[in-house]
């Protein structure tokens, strides 16, 4: 039997919008993944520490407050400095297109905007987590 994919779902920064992340977390769990959700108001340091401690394969970051260009890169840097860059980093939220391109260059693997079906997210994670 394949090992279950472990994914950390996290809310970096002060944003309180958690409808999207909770729906996605549940869909991933229903799809057979082991999902850890951090809850609101997490610093990049807390998120990276949780990802390493929980030994996850991937993470899903949700930001709707506009702070993504400060917080996503910080998380990517912290993963690198902790030798954990093999963790697949994905995200979602209210993120303009040009920022998505920037974030991808920095190492965010995919950004899922409003209206993305959960099935598309599940498929992406399953295909892109390194086994």
């Amino acid at each position: 039997m394949d090992k279950k994919i472990r994914i950390l779902m996290a809310k970096p920064g002060l944003d309180g919008h958690d409808r999207g992340i909770k729906v996605v977390a549940r869909a991933l769990r229903d799809a057979g993944m082991e999902v850890v959700y951090t809850g609101l108001h997490q610093t990049p340091e807390q998120i990276v520490e949780a990802a390493i401690q929980e030994d996850v394969d991937a993470m899903g970051l949700s930001i709707l407050s506009g702070a993504h260009m400060a917080l996503f890169p910080k998380i990517i840097d912290l993963l690198k400095s902790n030798n954990a860059e093999d963790i697949l980093v994905t995200g979602g939220g209210i993120i303009p297109k040009e920022d998505i391109e920037e974030l991808k260059k920095m190492g965010v693997s995919a950004i899922f905007g409003p209206g993305t079906p959960t099935t598309e997210i599940i498929k992406y994670i399953e295909e892109n987590v390194k086994n």
Partner: protein
Amino acid sequence: MFEKDKLEELKKEKKEWEEGSLKKVLDKFAERKDEFMSISDAPIERLYTPEEVEGLDYSEKIGYPGQFPFTRGVQPTMYRGKLWTMRQYAGFGSAEDTNKRYKYLLDQGQTGLSVAFDLPTQMGYDSDHQMALGEVGKCGVSISSLKDMETLFDGIPLDKVSTSMTINSTAAILLAMYIAVAGKQGVPPDKITGTIQNDLLKEYIARGTYIFPPAPSMRIVTDIFDYCSKNVPRWNTISISGYHIREAGSTAAQELAFTLANGMTYVDSAIKKGLDVDKFAPRLSFFFNSHNDFFEEIAKFRAARRIWAKIMAEKFGAKNPKSMMLRFHTQTAGCSLTAQQPYNNIIRTTLEALSAVLGGTQSLHTNSMDEAFALPSEESVKVALRTQQVIGFESGVANTIDPLAGSYFIEALTDKIEKEVLEYFDQIEALGGVLAALERGFFHKEIANASYRYQKEVEAAEKIVVGVNKFTTGEETQMNLLKVDPGVQKKQEDQIKALKEERDNKKVEELLGGIRQAAKGDDNLIPYITEAVKEYATLGEICDVLRDVFGEYKEQTVF
């Protein structure tokens, strides 16, 4: 509403129609769906007739505008007297940037201000705090001290404009700053008008910008009620909000039930503190979402007024009719906006705004078409405001009061929502009240289940979202989005540094010490906070003291 004999005759006629004309068509052509459901998954019948409202007593359940139970509206003349307040929620970047946007909106005919604060301001952190990284000026204006507040309202006469502030955990501090700015303009506290959101319960349930645990939060809320009833009598001391509960994915009935249950909790807590219900209740106000199921929303607003009036009269013994009136602000549903084909959002917002108006709202914010991408640009805000102006000045819907009353469908739906809400009240009471239900994760579970169900229905195309799961084009629309100046954070940091050098730091220390003592004891906190902000104690400094005394809330993560 009908005499018994007449009703029997109508029922017979309906049966004949069902077995005759209707059956003939149904035998040949099936309807579009087996079941028709509202967006909240409430079943909707094919046809509503007098039969569905047979028990409805007009005087008891519907009545007249401005009279108990206020189903038809809170004022006797409603929009014939004065249109609703057109109030666009706005704020971004520095106080200077937002001040310019306010002046623009007032020039465009907006009739009240509504302040959006950035998250550090809402969470009690100054712009130079590490938790503020990337958030300064992003989803609202950044306010760290009275200095910023002075800039925000520069050149705006606070005796003429009413201001609504979406602020909760730090509401006491921002209200104190507003009072101080008004004072500097020569406007005394009893002349200012406006609203603070100040609804902490829905922060725990759905919105997430809580700081302290529920008990001290409730204490600050009631301190504000008490202080304002004596000193700022024209201020709405709370806006009990269903908006965020709905955005988090609840149904219409849940939005209403949880909001009104929160409302009862505040009233109860204030009465227990010794306040006279008829002194503070007239200043309570509400805030609802207007989602895109047109009739369901209208029925929700009408049911809200009726339920609240009865609660205040019967449960809390209010005598003043003003204590029984549910006055509310409405915002169209942010969660109904799509990133795909964003111009369609103008249409959605128009329908939602129309529901709010037909439901008798006191003030309204219409969302802008580009908000699935970013904060709205000036151009798209203008279209959103014009939407309200077209409804108010062109469509004719404001010419008569509660025009949908008496519709078999609307009245049946109003009744049904009322019934569902009362059932939720029973459930919450059985769990031990709102705070106990919160601890048990009741609200989070209910909302998470409803939002997940909705997502599944959209993905199965059982619910249609135009441009998302039907009529898709794959094209991308280019929009000129608002960009918040990334230099705001640095600018704010420099200003705080300069402020701390020029103010009387010894005095600030003393006043912060006073807040600490008051927080540990029972004194009303507001006068202490008011004195401290006048000496330019920062928002973060005041909150640090309160965090130290009260502790911080940790949420349960239910999904």
